[in-house]
Amino acid sequence: MSIEQREARQPWILLTPALTAIVLLLIVPLMFIIVYSFWLKSAAGADTPGFFLDNWQEALTDPFYRDILLNTLKIAAVTTVACALLGYPAAYFIARSKGNRLVLLVLLMLPFWISYIIRTMSWINILGVSGALNSAMIWIGVIDEPIQMLYNETTVILGLVHFLLPFMVLNIFVSLEGIDTNLEDAANSLGATRWQGFLQVTLPLSLPGLAAGGLLCFVLAAGTYITPVILGGPRDAMFANLVYEAIIRQLNWPLGSALSLMLLVVLGVLVLIYNRYLGMAQLAKGLG
């Protein structure tokens, strides 16, 4: 074998283990649940293979599933907007500050290292009946009896924003970091106010980072299972909770497959639109 041939083969040898893992543990399983969603749940024993449209009919026409899907998307959208509003000024501050920039960046990374479930349940200490806020208000004398602030849709969104904000800030920071500050100075010297300079130069140039952060926040929020269970009430189930119910509790795997695929398609369309206009490179930049 010539050296050239060997050179050409080498990357494939290096890639084989990872690609095999992805194909066998992700791609084939995804195709498998497409098939499985057309099977039929049997009352007892193994599910019946075949081509039945029952699960899809149930998943797509039952208003119960539709309402929860729409509500899940609404929660994800509100979360994403809240993250952008909270995150953009902070990212701008980090990108333009000189002295404490490194400290702020390290602090921004810290939440990634702190357990998701600990961060989620930490709000119970703050908002719970015997939490910090109730204790403080009773101590000041604003209220006599503790009020239940937890277990509603607002606290679910609060928990999601708390979890996803670092993703947003980091992505915006990465794109602000890549903008030449001379551009803003040029705008100013040509008579634009600082605000105009920001609106017409910096903001448009940072949109790719905002979009990457937004996509991550939306997809992660819409697929979340834990936050509604810990911080939501009985009526705040999100779509992933339905999937868990079907698969783990009711053991209705065909229906669970159909529901999973519904979620995948809805979020997949978003990812594809994003990829079409902005490409995956921006996302990889923010994650790396």
Binding site: L26, P29, A90, I114, S122, G131, L287
Partner: protein
Amino acid sequence: MGWRLIRIYTILVYMFMFLPIAVVVLLSFNANQFGSFPMTGLSTHWFEVLWENDAIMRAFRTSIVLGLMTAVISTVLGVLASLALVRYKVPGRNLITTMLIAPILVPEVVLAVALLLFLNFLDIGKSFTLLLLGHVIFTLPFVILVVQARLVSIKRDVEEAALSLGASPRQTFFAITLPLLMPAVAAGGLFAFTISFDDITGTLFWKPGGIETVPTQIFSMLRNSISPEINALGTVMIVLTVGLPLIGAAIARTLATRSGG
């Protein structure tokens, strides 16, 4: 004026991110017998209770073993793939990159369901093996992104020099490339370990009955109510997942300066 406003805003955003976590740490040292406010004093009582809780200690061992195995497998796969993508011209590299980071793009619940159903079909039911395979596929993209970012900064010149001075490709790899790679390998492994240690959604789908990891253990304890023990456990986990990497980074830096790098 505007700048000061942004500064205050940023401070508030950081307080929003960290105050709840600070309260967890604070309450874990609470002497109050219910573990809630008002705090009556400082004590390490809840850590002692934690230490004597067998279920939690078992969960810790499970999480550590699972995390270490995940880290080793993911890092080996991830480093090899990253080498190929950074060092060689691979046809169709965009498609390959998208495929390799696909597990991040697929919602974790969907990934969990697909893997559970498919492996069950292959007669691998809920088990430690399923848990391990799930964690590997879930951490792999993160390892690849981190390792690739590090690899780009390593120059090829040194390797080419070694080759031109008569070293064999194998010698070059072990004497030059691998030592230069070590920081990337360490970063990837640490990242995989932390993600695996922290994972809960997939784990709830894959774990067999009777096996708990630390997050699923906390999750089942939360079903009842928040106990001060959970705050103590939270503090221990924060120290482990934040403290250890920082110490690791410090050691790596000391070693690097000592070896003149």
